[in-house]
Point group: C2
Chain length 172, copies 2
């Protein structure tokens, strides 16, 4: 089995479109290969701000209510890349981004390494955390090849948007 | 200066849209990164066959009437990638794909290395030639960093399309 990845730009927004858009397959040759900067400064920031996207590329899911193998079907974009992108609200108790395990029904996502900074025009706008899925229950879970990259906006960037205190559902 | 590339899927088709489509910039995160196989079996083959594209990603130009630095402006897709894709008719005298120089006003494209095979479902469907732009006149031209990859259908693939003899303007 190859190394598979789930890319997860996190957001605390809980808005859900009343009608889910149908999945889209891109024309041959086209790929959705966003940079970390694009994910944070365009997709995540616009999502949290409630601004529209030119193309609705990323669906909203509750990551921890799905097992990794079930996520591909929930992707807005149908691609042959073994990567998928989702928005997912973070529960408050996970908000500190610490070492806490994030459990699904059959396993848990465990952070690995340190959070990395995502920059835009030389300022830090987001943080990227990498997590590996373990099947079973901590601390006896078995490491798998599923990898998730979670992006979140920095608090400072949240303040720039102005959602820090006015939208209490946004929790970081 | 970085290594810049011009990607050129060749075709002998001379059809030109009566109204040129305006340039398109992709939404953030989206890239046009076709594989060799996609370029040959989808874009080039459909072009030669006269079949429509889901998205009109590649404009037609006469490559040898442009200097490399002028080509970016003629690309259908406006991207930050330093790569552009074009269809261009091959003049008959260049059709054998040999060592001949292909002149522009201020220089010429010179083939480098051997043609490589492009496969689809284990059969060879196309050939890929790499050329480097030299400024000045052969044999005294000065090598530049401009690189072009030229794709052409194999004669066998042309026969499969059925354009081999019925469309004499198709010359390979």
């Amino acid at each position: 089995m190859g190394r598979e990845s789930v890319f997860l730009p996190t957001t605390a927004s809980t808005t859900v479109n009343p009608v889910a858009a149908p999945p889209t397959s891109l024309a041959p040759g086209f790929r959705f290969h966003p940079t970390d900067e694009e994910l944070v400064i365009y997709y995540l920031k616009r999502k949290v701000s409630g601004k529209p996207f030119r193309f609705d590329a990323i669906s909203e899911v509750d990551i921890y209510r799905s097992e990794p193998g079930d996520l591909a079907d929930k992707s807005r974009l149908k691609t042959r890349d073994q990567e998928w992108y989702f928005f997912s609200a973070l529960d408050k108790k996970y908000g500190n981004g610490g070492r806490m395990n994030r459990a699904t029904g059959k396993g848990y996502w465990k952070a690995t390494g340190n959070d990395r900074q995502v920059k835009h025009e030389e300022r830090v706008v987001g943080l990227k955390k990498t997590l590996v899925f373990h099947s079973g229950r901590a601390p006896d879970g078995k490491r798998t090849n599923w990898v998730m990259h979670e992006y979140r906006l920095t608090e400072k960037e949240m303040e720039r948007i102005g959602t820090g205190s006015s939208q209490p559902q946004v929790r970081f």
